[in-house]
Amino acid sequence: MKGKFRDFATKLQAVPRQRWAWLASGLGAAFLIFGGWWNNLPLFGIGAASFALGVMYILGRRTSRASMPPKAPAAPAVAPTPIAHQEPRAPVAPEDTEGLVEQMLAQGRYALMLRPQVVGNLSAAHRERTRDELTEQMAFVPAGEVELGPWDEHALDGAQQDEDRHTAVYRVDAYYLDRYPVTNRQFLEFVMAGGYEQMALWDAKILPAVIDFVDQTGCLGPRYWRHGRYHEGTEELPVVGISWYEAMAYARWVGKRLATDAEWVKAACWPVPLGPGSRMQRRYPWGDNMDRERANIWGSGPGRIVPVTEFGSGVSVGGVYQLVGNVWEWTSSNFGAGGYSRPELVLPTPMKSVRGGAYDTYFDNQATSQFQSGENPVARRYNVGFRCALGACDVSFSETNDAAEPVAELQEAGA
């Protein structure tokens, strides 16, 4: 019963004011006439007042609309989501090695400590912890060849296939790739540590534009944040609304880099050599057939970005999550370079390559391991994030500065 009353009240509230004014003036006129006819003064008075109010409202509205210049409507009044409260980390004294290591681990900057030049300064325990952190957070991709080719062979008909089938074979050195895209929580560490003010992290040509990389409130940070903080409850979502340059700066800050196109495709396709010049590559990280349960793309997920640990069934052979779906990922390569994707295209601006598809990618053939799209490097899109890579030759697990290639994983991969 209450619900019905509430519905009725809601319906009444939805009736425009002008209609009420017309109703009031109409009823008022009727009361006025009948009040006068029957010599009923109260009815006449109510009618006159109602009629006058209604007519005044209608005339007033028309006059104001005719004389006033049109105004832009106010932005929709949507209550902003609360932002996460996190205080910047307290500075650690240079002589406090333990504190320094803890802080760098908490910030996700373990790769810096495993640099061959640095690793010798760590104690055995710290070295062990840092190595564990690396193997937990990053997946090893063995060296080998990978073929980058047309984004959808099915789209080419028989006559076109020989002519348009541009492929290129790349040799990729062993490297590590983040198991998950970089999250809001991880990127906040970079923001709080003053990453946007550390000029050494940024490309020289973009320095004048860094000041424009602001959030909704004008603070330095990803586009969709507020007051330099992400929205509450989004800490495990991949960070989006960042340009290619911000992704590069973050990667440098944590001692990593962005993966190249060939590296990214190798992690997703996981090529298996069949013979000289021949290899078997997967169309999707989990196999050759699209399985909509395994990736967050249009029509398969909730229609929004999900935490980086979800869709675990779509993990790649090497153990990398969400290579396909959820958010596009920046790579370090230029879009169109190499001539293997769509060499006939003319780009309005130089573009960087993005891969993997996002939660709103509509077609299955645009969410494959091979599909490449392009984006302006300064664009800060709502569905483009990134993950970092690290060359195996850039880290060492021992004091002897040997490159860190895990023997067990290499044997498992058949390399």
Binding site: D152, S373, N376
Partner: protein, 303 residues
């Protein structure tokens, strides 16, 4: 020599020819086996379906200038609603109604935009579908043609040159008007003028304040808004600041106007095509703001 044979009595055919079947769009008489109306070139299947299914379909038109994205919008809308019927359920009536979504999605999945809609009305794609919204008890039968933008402008400049457009827009229950946000955002006012012309034409067709265009719903859609992110944040403010003429006209003459932003291609590049020159191609397809305007319009059309 006399040969004997059997001759079919075809007088019933003659009787059928004698009865004229009115076109659902223009009302002109046609023979029972006509495929297209001989007056306005609308498919006669619409009239036959209306007669056999005992329904009076409503009409909704997507209008806008040439190249604004009407075909892509309608094709994607049809495809999205038929693939994910959560909010709105759309069921095509007749095989011809699926052609538009088929050619649109085929082109987009190949990494191209669909070919320009020809000016000849007999080559337009028509959609007749049943739409059921969650909030509405009864489904609505809709007819939506994919009209050529150049034909629309020709009809506006020279009224009655395209009878089908005039008849259709006179009877439409609402329109989806597409305006190119990227052109407006770049500061050119061509789109503003074209949109104002279209709105003025609608008013000319029927200016009755109760039943005419002043009270019919108009979903004003800024297409290609993926190139103008501010348009997605507040389409009405975008209209007020970039298309002030259109904004003012809507405020003054129309009671049921709502502004929306939509985009289909996440990013675009160009390709040189012989004879056509530089054509725009999508680098990926990620539709945004496609269903919302249609959902709003359906909510405003009384079943």
């Amino acid at each position: 020599m006399i040969k004997e044979g059997t001759l079919h009595l075809d007088s019933y055919r003659l009787a059928s020819y004698a009865v004229q079947v009115p076109c659902y769009i223009c009302g002109g008489g046609n023979t029972f086996d006509a495929e297209l109306c001989r007056h306005c070139c609308a498919p006669m299947a619409l009239a036959h379906q209306a007669n056999t299914q005992k329904v009076r379909p409503r009409m909704v038109a997507a209008i806008g200038t040439s190249g604004v994205g009407k075909t892509v919008y309608l094709g994607m809308l049809m495809d999205m609603l038929s693939r994910m019927p959560d909010r709105l359920q759309l069921l095509a009536r007749g095989a011809f109604s699926i052609t538009l979504q088929q050619i649109t999605t085929a082109a987009l999945s190949r990494g191209e935009f669909p070919d320009k809609t020809p000016n000849e009305p007999d080559r337009w794609n028509w959609v007749h579908a049943q739409v059921r919204a969650q909030k509405q008890r009864h489904p609505v039968d809709l007819i939506m043609p994919d009209m050529a933008g150049e034909a629309l402008l020709e009809e506006i400049e020279h009224p009655r040159s395209y009878q089908v457009i005039r008849s259709l827009l006179s009877q439409c229950s609402g329109v989806l008007m597409l305006v190119d946000a990227s052109q407006l955002g770049s500061g050119t006012l061509e789109q503003d003028y074209f949109a104002m012309k279209l709105l003025s034409y609608l008013i000319e067709l029927d200016e009755d304040p109760k039943t005419g265009w002043p009270s019919r719903p108009i979903a004003m859609i800024f297409s290609k808004a993926d190139e103008r992110e501010d348009c997605f944040i507040d389409p009405a403010a975008f209209a007020a600041s970039h298309a002030s003429g259109l904004w003012r006209l809507c405020q003054e003459r129309f009671r049921e106007v709502q502004f929306f932003a939509s985009g289909v291609a996440g990013s675009c590049a160009y390709r040189n095509v012989p004879k056509l020159g530089r054509v725009r191609v999508p680098l990926r397809v990620e539709p945004r703001g496609i269903i919302e305007p249609f959902e709003w319009l359906i909510g405003r059309i009384k079943s």
